[in-house]
Symmetry: C2
Subunit: 414 residues, 2 copies
């Protein structure tokens, strides 16, 4: 095994794949709008598959469209997975998710260059619909892979036009033949842009992700009654849109209450029907979440959010129903894997920073079942989910090399 | 001229037209969903035109789809108009608007039965898109008729699918040849269900509408910035959806503040983009309004609503822009016309009630330019903009006869 501190990824080759990706699903200036299972996503998948095959990887696609590019090892052991996602938000950047998949590809290409055969197989993975921008919830396909989500349930999730994940997979030709999950994974690495500004602000080259912000999310439905916006007395109104607006306002207030300790609360989505001038809405659906670095505080925020759901119903005479809840983060990463990352940083002599992930990632689902670690690259000013998202080559290079070293160490360990 | 207190409309014939209308554009149980310029609206218009022609009326359609069925008078004087609308809300009833148009038709048919030729011509009118359920704002076509709205502006108003009023008129064949408005009207009568419960609760057979609740509405746009829902600090968030939610909450609070004096405030509509889990929205648009019987109090409520617009922007770091405002109501009706209605009630011996209109009506636009009055029929429990809206035959008959008598008196006056 060759694993000197001189070993480096081919940055130019990696950047060329990033640049090619930035041409597929162009959104606002310098940004991408490559929604999951759209035609743009299909074009990106096709290119990724082509790259994998050209690199001698064995490509397989599972029943929810996750793409695996496998490089065999010396022994028939469970593989190391390196992954992230190629889909983006409605107003997404060129880096969020994409860096992790294409860095995984570069790691395998570099091993090819050097004729290194690792002890264990290694696979690069593109997880379907990480963003949740088209199909909610996010990270749905990694959730299926580890068995936390029911596959049929996931395939039936519909976008705002009523198209299901299953139909969308069929229409772009990515409903694959292999089973979803149901196999062992030796370890999972995910390289990602930080999506915060700690590394950039503190001039650190790479982030060792120690844990995840604890996060609690909820999808709530309110039911009221239609009536005229004019004569109908306030006392008799059951306007579901107002119930949703009151919840979102209360959740935002919770965020401000905890802002001094870097807590966050998000009112992310509100839809209503009929949602028209002249008539009160009898249906609304809201998505919101709370997050905090301290799991106990996150739990307190959750209690306030759940109370706010009922308060909003009570204030408006509507009926509230919680349709879905989710919780992420905490001490989810494998300490041996984190140590492997930290050792790679040390070997390479980078200036690093331990930090939590504040965003959700596919790694959160993997971490529930398999040893998992994440590596962060800095991103300019922490801007993300925005076309101004930026990770320069200099920002990405250390993380890419740390990934290479950590994967190699994990794959070859006795 | 025959105008004894024995003169009555043909209730059965009127009810037969109501029943036929209730079969076109069926929505929820017992309700209608007959959106303006939809295929259902076209079918209803076709039937109305057929009825008009069978009744010997001269039918014309203007450039924004308003339909006029004219019965000539003895002299070439400006006509009396009787009108309302045949479109409904998303979850509309069978009576709101429809009663007024079909009552107008019945009035003309009854004059035919009795071979009465009035001094002035009389026209029954169906105004396009009164509800504003598909194209906002409401009452747009009567606003064009009186010249308060620019026709080109109105023809370019788009529904949520991007279809303009002009395109919708063409697609159902109701962009008529005659000019919009630009002619004299002797007087305008509109019969409508009350859309409140005063008549029903007080066991009154018919309402004499004295004035309109003063109402102020606003269409507001907020602009913020997309960012990740997770790591982005509260202090840097500019979530346009939260700005909209805070406005709607504040407007609802204003309604409650004035509820004891029957004031109302409505948060009617909120749309945002991207409006997805995982990303902060950088755009939102909200529609809200305030109403009060006392115009001065309504003006106070308006000041609070306008302040709330800016407060919501300030709290969220978003930019607010008021895209449209409107004001209705007050002492808009012609006292001579109202007296004519009251005299008709007296001749017929009905048990009536003076009351304001709390909802907006096409009559509000007509009243700005021509002598106008409204007549209310009771409706069960005040329920409207809801499939449970109900006006029984017994509830509609008095108003129908009052309309007949009032129109005849106006049309034949010296």
């Amino acid at each position: 095994m060759i694993q000197s501190s001189n070993l480096r990824a081919n940055l130019d080759r990696f950047l060329a794949t990033m640049e090619a990706s930035a041409q597929i699903g162009i959104g606002r200036e310098n940004g991408l709008r490559r929604l999951a299972l759209s035609e743009a996503d299909r074009d990106m998948r096709d290119l990724f598959v082509k790259w994998c095959r050209e690199s001698g990887l064995k490509v397989s696609v599972d029943g929810i469209g996750n793409i695996f590019g496998r490089r065999e090892g010396r022994e028939d052991l469970p593989p190391i997975l390196i992954g992230s996602h190629l889909d983006t938000q409605e107003n997404g950047g060129r880096f969020d998710g994409i860096v992790g998949v294409l860095a995984g590809l570069e790691v395998l290409r570099r091993l090819n260059d050097l004729n290194i055969t690792t002890r264990r197989p290694i696979e690069v993975v593109d997880w379907t619909n990480e963003e949740g921008a088209r199909f909610s919830p996010p990270m749905v396909a990694s959730g299926c892979f580890v068995g936390d989500h029911d596959l049929d349930w996931a395939l039936n999730i519909k976008d705002d036009d009523g198209v299901s994940i299953g139909e969308a997979l069929d229409s772009i030709g990515y409903r694959g033949a292999i089973p979803v999950g149901k196999r062992e994974v030796d370890g999972y690495f995910e390289l990602h842009i930080e999506q915060g500004d700690e590394l950039d602000r503190n001039n650190r080259e790479v982030g060792v992700v120690t844990h995840g912000y604890k996060s609690h999310g909820v999808l709530v439905e309110y039911r009221g009654e239609t009536a005229h916006t004019g004569p109908w007395p306030m006392e008799r109104r059951r306007n579901a849109l107002v119930a949703g607006a009151r919840l979102l306002t209360a959740v935002d207030d919770i965020g401000w209450e905890y802002a001094s300790t870097s807590g966050k609360a998000t009112a992310a989505r509100l839809i209503a029907s009929p949602n028209k001038p002249g008539i009160l809405s009898d249906w609304a659906e809201a998505v919101c979440d709370v997050r905090h670095n301290d799991p106990d505080v996150a739990d307190q925020m959750r209690v306030k959010m759940m109370n706010a759901i009922n308060d909003a119903a009570g204030r408006t005479g509507c009926a509230a129903r919680v349709l879905n809840t989710w919780s992420w983060g905490g001490d989810i990463f494998d300490q041996q894997m984190v140590k492997t990352v930290r050792e790679a940083v040390g070997n390479l002599g980078y200036n690093s920073w331990d930090l939590p992930s504040q965003a959700g990632h596919d790694a959160y689902f993997l971490a529930r079942h398999f040893p998992t670690a994440m590596i962060f690259t800095p991103c300019k000013d922490g801007i993300t989910h925005n076309n101004n998202e930026l990770a320069t080559a200099a920002m990405m290079e250390p993380g890419l090399n740390v990934l290479l070293h950590a994967v190699l160490a994990r794959a070859d360990r006795p």
